[in-house]
């Protein structure tokens, strides 16, 4: 989100072009959450596919309602103490006029609210990848309700809200490196330190069950990310959104190639999962930085993120924490890399005039970035761990060991993702209705 942006017009008027563009961008960001569900869903074992999909999908339900009730007000309402927002007009989105503009911009408040809603939805969903296979669905639903309220809404206010302390300090977070990725990655780390490892971690094989699903999800993420990033300028009047679009594509490509090259050297093969993971790492890293760097800078940022994230995903085996699908390795590490590299690669010609170390700006911006990164990381890590601890002590965070081994899909959702029974299989009891109906239809055909 642009800190301190002023548009050319003194009193902005509603722009049909910007409004239409932002509605499309909002829809693009929405598709990222189902995309994420497939990205994660393909990476788990067959027996927990549906749970993984549902952990993302439920966020679309819960966070949407929270956002309307009080989330938008808490994140983007009038500032209180640089820590939280609140405007009674925003509660229930009740006092907003159809053509009332978001302050300083050419789009209605409703459009801004719905665009930001999509960010609020995907951020808790990102956390779920670290918790695969082992968390009660009810506990997860309660967790994201509390987490969105106590962590996401305030952090979004710090980073993007007028009067938020990080916003005022000049921390650059174009589209969510700090508020989304570091926030979610640190939360993931906090929760898994409380709930512990999957049964069989480091002993049983836990191979992805469907790499095509992973690629489908990564593709949808990449596509939706254009709305996420290019839309974060909230308009198209001066080309910064277009620069962001270009940088998103460039950094993602560079990161994918970097991850694959690292893999080829280190493990001897360019893998599908590596290509998908590298792309996501690049998207994460360019999210905070893409509005302030050049396309060549974006290549460097993407390549650095690709290699460092590929190295980081191995850390869980070394340190023994079970971040199932590498939310820490990809989102936290990628977000930190992207945020800090602004301090090196900011050209001063994009979203703000702040310059990084490589463009004669000294260390000023780097210190600001470090402050933003450190504060959000620490707050999210601690608050998320406390939330997980409290939920664990009350309704319990984890399913039983037996249920985890037999498969969380069956236990928590009364379904399984795939039917492997084949012709004549499926001996489970059926209701009489459909069978009789089928028989009746057959008779008719015979007659």
């Amino acid at each position: 989100m642009p800190p301190g942006i002023t548009l050319a017009a003194d009193t902005p008027t509603l722009s049909a072009a910007n409004t239409g563009f932002m509605l499309i961008c909002s829809a693009l960001v929405m598709i990222m959450t189902p995309g994420l569900a497939f990205f994660y869903g393909g990476m788990v074992r067959v027996k927990s596919t549906l749970n993984m999909l549902m952990m993302s999908f439920i966020s679309l339900g819960i966070v949407t309602i929270l956002w309307v009730l009080y989330g938008f007000s808490a994140a983007f309402g009038t500032d209180h103490g640089s820590l939280i927002g609140w405007s009674s007009d925003y509660v229930g989105l009740s006092g907003i006029g159809l053509t009332q503009l978001w302050d300083g911009y050419t789009i209605p408040i409703y459009v801004f609210a719905v665009f930001q809603l999509m960010f609020a939805i995907i951020t808790p969903a990102l956390i779920s990848g670290a918790l695969a296979d082992r968390v009660k669905f009810s506990a997860w639903a309660l967790f994201i309700t509390l987490w969105a309220t106590l962590v996401y809404f305030p952090v979004a206010h710090w980073v993007w809200g007028t009067g938020g302390w990080a916003f005022d300090l000049g921390v650059i977070d174009f589209a969510g490196g700090t508020a989304v990725h570091i926030n979610a990655g640190a939360a993931a780390l906090g929760v898994i330190l409380v709930i512990g490892k999957r049964v069989g971690f480091k002993k049983d094989p836990m191979r992805p069950h469907s790499l095509p699903l992973v690629m489908l999800g990564a593709g949808l993420l990449w596509f939706g990310w254009f709305g996420f990033n290019a839309g974060s300028w909230l308009g198209n009047d001066d080309g910064v959104g277009a620069l962001m679009f270009v940088n998103t594509q460039v950094a993602t490509a560079a990161a994918m190639l970097a991850w694959l090259i690292y893999e080829k050297i280190r493990h001897g093969a360019c893998t599908t999962l590596g290509a998908a993971s590298g792309a996501v790492a690049g998207l994460v890293a360019i999210t905070p930085s893409g509005g302030s760097c050049s396309p060549l800078g974006a290549i460097a940022i993407g390549a650095i993120a690709g290699v460092l994230c590929a190295m980081a995903v191995g850390l869980k085996y070394r340190f023994g924490y079970d971040d199932s699908l590498d939310v820490v390795g990809v989102h936290l590490v990628g977000g930190v890399i992207g945020s800090l590299l602004i301090g090196f690669f900011a050209t001063g010609g994009g979203q703000s005039d702040a310059q990084g170390l490589f463009y004669g700006g000294g260390l000023t911006q780097l210190w600001k970035q470090l402050a933003g990164v450190g504060a959000v990381l620490a707050y999210s890590l601690v608050a998320s761990a406390i939330l997980a601890f409290l939920i664990d002590k009350t309704i319990g965070m984890r399913v039983s060991e037996d249920d985890e081994v037999s498969g969380i899909d069956q236990v928590e959702h009364a379904e399984t993702a795939y039917d492997f029974s084949g012709a004549g299989g499926g001996t489970a009891s059926r209701s009489a209705g459909p069978v009789q109906e089928a028989a009746a239809q057959t008779k008719k055909v015979d007659a």
């Binding site: 094989p205 191979r207 992805p208 893999e263 280190r266 493990h267 001897g268 093969a269 893998t271 999962l273 590596g274 993971s277 590929a310 995903v313 191995g314 085996y317 590498d326």
Partner: protein, 112 residues
Amino acid sequence: MKLITAVVKPHRLDEIKDALQAFGVQGLTVTEASGYGRQRGHTEVYRGAEYTVDLVPKIRIEVLVEDDDAEQLIDVVVKAARTGKIGDGKVWAVPVETAVRVRTGERGPDAL
């Protein structure tokens, strides 16, 4: 009678079927199988984590033949299955006491 069993690479199935037909075999049974021999499967890498996959896909072909044909038929199967690379599989024969054609009730060599 003998039962010839061949556990071989899946992609050799067509060659083996053609060779058996040319030899005059009337029928055979094919099942999907998995297993390993001396080469012990292969390694897969997921985000740097290496998994050893012991069991690799194979097919098992079973043919009933008369005793006199057994040795020659084994040679036919081996020739058709061979790629020269590791994991080509194995072929063996075991004696069969009796065989019955279900439709007619014929027994012994008549049932083949």
